[in-house]
Symmetry: C2
Subunit: 253 residues, 2 copies
Amino acid sequence: MATRVPNDRALRGERDGEEPSPPALVSSILLAAPLFASLEPSQIALVEAAARPIRKGRSAVFFRQGEPAENLYLVLDGAVKIGQVTVEGQSVALRYARAGDVFGCVALFGAQTYPATATAVKRCDALVWSRREVERLISLVPRIASNALSILGDELATVRARYLELATERVERRIARALLRLVSPSSLRASESVRIELPLSRQDLAELAGTTLHTVSRVLSAWEHRGLVESGRLRVTIRSPRDLLRIAEAVEA
Amino acid sequence: MATRVPNDRALRGERDGEEPSPPALVSSILLAAPLFASLEPSQIALVEAAARPIRKGRSAVFFRQGEPAENLYLVLDGAVKIGQVTVEGQSVALRYARAGDVFGCVALFGAQTYPATATAVKRCDALVWSRREVERLISLVPRIASNALSILGDELATVRARYLELATERVERRIARALLRLVSPSSLRASESVRIELPLSRQDLAELAGTTLHTVSRVLSAWEHRGLVESGRLRVTIRSPRDLLRIAEAVEA
DNA sequence: CGTCGACTTGACTCGGCTCAATGCGAGTGG
DNA sequence: CCACTCGCATTGAGCCGAGTCAAGTCGACG
């Protein structure tokens, strides 16, 4: 099936072969990206010059778990699901990468194969660097390596937190947290409703929370009756962040 | 590698308060430690010179979750449990560090506080470097930084695998895997029994497998009836690695 | 000998998973 | 334009894995 995964409608609307024109704000995204924090404008230019832009359509795959790790990606626009699957086919979602986030960062160091699968959740623009280019950039700008270290450290802390959560918290709370993680902290005010700007199925949410789509559906229905959220096909809106936060936090008893 | 292992005997019998004298094989452990892989002997000497040896007794704490991250540790002998606790007091074990492993490696990069708690499982000898010394060593021997990157990468892969496991596998299998992780792969032959060389309570195993001590107790009892293991107070011996492996792997049906 | 921590076991409960039926909306092709 | 199909979602029924509660044993150690 995976044969020639040429982004199905990836390039829809554009003529095949035409590179998406790099929007003017590419450099502003690079400037804000943690991986390139504290770089001189001239160094950013270097980085940008080495990048190749690509575009993927909804559900198109950047790379699959187990494939040789060749590239480093940075999301310019859209969102990318990073997930793993078991041999039995069950899958979990590790994180969603948004504009400014990098993925495939294992290509930066020893790992030979990608540990996870990266799928576009909606149409995505991204930048790509080959492993070789990344190595060259690091030798020119060592700062990138130390930024990578701290990104990896953060990632590690995040996964550990998720692990702890999965081991100790109940489903409802995990679902609440998964939802809240999907809205940027900045856009979250206790009493304003927020729409989650991703096509998000019950199954997706289940993979994020470590449960089944059935349970997610039930929980969302219950919340909807209580006025906490509003949801539909591939869409969730948080109506009362305050109450959802209460569920997400451990303020019981 | 584990052949010529160190020796709790080498240092045994020192009077309290006296610094444990660095045994002759410290440098051999340093040489084998992933963090210092591919270093020249002269560089190893540099590293060793900057280290301070310490010893902790059973249950002594190296550092606690949330404390400012100040030191990097390397285990010479013994074992250290790295664990996290929730606000409600439930705890999970992330890993056990053995001879040659480092812990507290967050002190190498940005993180301000330790993300986990490190406790000696039995008497431990370790080397300590302050953050400042680590920074100095890295500037002298950049190779250490890239080694750290790949250690972090491995760690990340491991935690992700554990996460996947917790989300998709049943308890019995998780317990089997936890046990098997505790014996070094080298010392595992399919048909020879292996004793786990750590004081390991049911509670400890439960924290490793993400379950409760009651469930662990029941599972171990069942296995004992079937002749898979032999267990007692703080002690587990794997009688039939082959069968345990079968439970651990997904070869059902 | 008494205490305490580790462990075991039975009885009970229940959260959440499985199975299964059904509804619904959006593309798609005739 | 309508009928068909397919993927997403909802909801009920039932069950079971594993957690909780509660007693009690065993062995170590002061």
